[in-house]
């Protein structure tokens, strides 16, 4: 039996709800859910709930950003983490935070970091060139990601705050640990802005199943639509990076999971990817918490452990299809 988009969405969503409930129950302290005392209430409302909400926000942003990038670049390998867009956003975030340009919590942070995100997508487009082959985009992306990662390390090392360098792992591998409502508020504006932009450009992204040239004859001003979609990718990526650091591969895994379920049409990939990404990231985060002992494992490590082999499989498939 073939499931419709709606049915599949509902099933995925139900699993997400179940997993969210599971995620709420794991953590450093055990909680009496039937009759929480004052401390336990604080833990629930100030730690567990914002963490789950943040997971939803970040994952849907990463999933949507990955899907948009893949459809826009007509490239099944594209993803904000691998292509260095996240790294560029993180670079500006770190500069702002550790060099005292901005207070620790300010809406100026996502706004400034957006400059980094936009720089990342622009660099990628310039380095790879238009109509670049999938592997070329990845090559350009790896260069940008490596550069931004090294620069992030250098900035953290040089930062006046002596503890900054200890947060290296947080920024590079991303973590949902120790998050509060502040992080939710940091991530929210960019994501709220980006979803309508993608919605308005959805038909353009579907049409890009065919070449840009054909899409231009289908009633779309390709340059204008492309710039809006790149802005959406930058917004989504930046929103996730300022809140939780660079979590790679979720944006790669989610669209491919959707395709693996047999939904190849861009409309399914675009709108099922966010919910699939939530499912994945909640699983990764729950697992990370369960595996952790003294210090919590950054969730990005798990995402990369699962995501990188997929990238390798896709690269091999890419090579074979050109052979």
């Amino acid at each position: 039996m073939k499931l419709s988009q709606r049915q599949c969405f509902i099933i995925l969503f139900a699993i997400v709800i179940l997993l969210s409930a599971l995620q709420l129950t794991v953590g450093g302290s055990s909680i009496n859910w039937w009759m929480p005392n004052a401390l336990e209430k604080d833990i629930i409302w100030d730690i567990r709930v914002p963490r789950t909400l943040l997971t939803w926000l970040i994952a849907s942003a990463l999933g949507l950003a990955g899907a948009v990038m893949q459809l826009l670049l007509r490239n099944p390998l594209a993803e904000p983490g691998i292509t260095g867009v996240s790294g560029c956003a993180a670079l500006v975030t770190i500069a702002c935070l550790y060099f005292g340009w901005l207070p620790a919590f300010s809406f100026g942070l996502p706004a400034l970091a957006l400059v980094g995100g936009l720089l990342g997508v622009s660099l990628l487009m310039v380095l790879a060139g238009r109509r670049a082959s999938p592997t070329r985009v990845i090559l350009a992306g790896v260069a940008i990601a490596t550069m931004s990662s090294a620069a992030m390390g250098l900035l953290l090392y040089l930062a006046p705050n002596p503890f900054a360098f200890q947060e290296w792992a947080f920024w590079h591998m991303g973590s949902l640990a120790n998050k509060s409502w502040h992080s939710v508020m940091l991530a929210l504006p960019g994501i709220v802005l980006a979803f309508p932009i993608v919605w308005l450009g959805r038909r353009f992204l579907y049409a890009l199943t065919l070449s840009e040239e054909t899409v231009a004859t289908m009633g779309f001003n390709v340059a204008r639509y492309r710039n809006w979609m790149l802005l959406a990718v930058a917004l989504l990526t930046t929103a996730s990076v300022v809140a939780v650091g660079v979590i790679g591969f979720v944006g790669l895994l989610a669209p491919h999971a959707v395709r693996l379920l047999g939904f190849n049409h861009p409309k399914y990939v675009l709108w099922l990817s966010p919910v699939t990404a939530i499912l994945l990231l909640i699983s990764f985060d729950t697992l990370a918490q369960l595996m952790s002992t003294a210090r919590e494992l950054p969730v990005g490590i798990l995402a990369a452990l699962v995501g990188a082999p997929l990238l390798i499989v896709l690269l091999v498939r890419e090579r074979n299809s050109h052979a």
């Binding site: 579907y206 049409a207 199943t209 065919l210 070449s211 040239e213 004859t217 001003n221």
Partner: protein, 248 residues
């Protein structure tokens, strides 16, 4: 219906198009012929408004064609480029209705017209090259465009598919408007097209009915061949020989 006024397109060593002046009327299938690099694709891409560097004027139904917005042009235009590979492995009916502009019954009718009904649930990777080309043509004609531009629609297809596609282009011209198609097979062009545009080195050498254009002089000058033609009531055939071989 379509007027081209002094089209010019710069190229790397020489202009890809120059001095193109032409008036075309509706309900015709126009074949664009010429050797490789003669400027067939450039001309078609220019008319489809996907060559940003194109200079000159194009008037379509008394409108400045190149100044229209993408959305306005889309109402009249169908375009099938030379090489089109759908990036995602979607179903044939999804491919044909990619821009989701028609109702289900309209789509079924259109699929039937292009003999795609039995293939509609297959994926792009599960059909042959000819079937895929037919689906792409069906995609380009779904909005019943008054101006249909196809760049080598039958290259690389087997003979049965070539004939079907040419027949469909012919039908489209009769019922909806003007069809321009670049064609390498001169016999096919002579048989199906109402008139031919012969291109050589970016210039329009001659336009007119097939046998006004496919003269001995033109074939020698533009293709470097000599040909023996034979005509039957239901079609034409030819045996070309390279000029070099004739001299030997």
């Amino acid at each position: 219906m379509l007027e081209l006024d002094d089209l010019y397109l710069a190229g790397i060593s020489r202009p890809r198009l120059q001095h193109i002046n032409l008036k075309l009327t509706s309900n015709q299938l126009i074949g664009v012929i010429g050797a490789n690099g003669a400027g067939k694709s450039s001309l078609l891409r220019g008319i489809a408004a996907v060559e940003p560097q194109l200079k000159g004027h194009i008037r379509f139904k008394h409108q400045d064609w190149l100044r229209l917005s993408h959305r306005q042009r889309q109402k009249y235009l169908g375009y099938l480029p030379q090489t089109e590979a759908p990036e995602w492995d979607i179903r044939i009916d999804e491919l044909v209705n990619l821009s989701a502009q028609v109702t289900h019954s309209q789509l079924m009718k259109h699929l039937e017209k292009y003999a795609l009904l039995t293939l509609k649930e297959r994926r792009v990777s599960q059909v042959s090259g000819g079937e895929r080309q037919r689906a792409l043509l069906a995609r380009a004609t779904l909005s019943e465009p008054q101006l249909l531009i196809c760049d080598e629609p039958v290259s690389g297809l087997d003979v049965a598919h070539q004939l079907t596609i040419m027949q469909q282009l012919h039908n489209h011209a009769r019922t909806h408007g003007l069809v321009l198609a670049a064609i390498h097979d001169l016999a096919l062009a002579a048989r199906f097209c109402d008139s031919l545009l012969l291109m050589h080195n970016g210039e329009l050498v001659q336009s007119g009915e097939p046998f006004e254009v496919l003269t001995e002089k033109n074939l020698a000058h533009c293709f470097g061949v000599q040909a023996e033609w034979f005509c039957k009531d239901n079609g034409v055939g030819w045996i070309p020989t390279p000029l070099q071989a004739v001299k030997d």
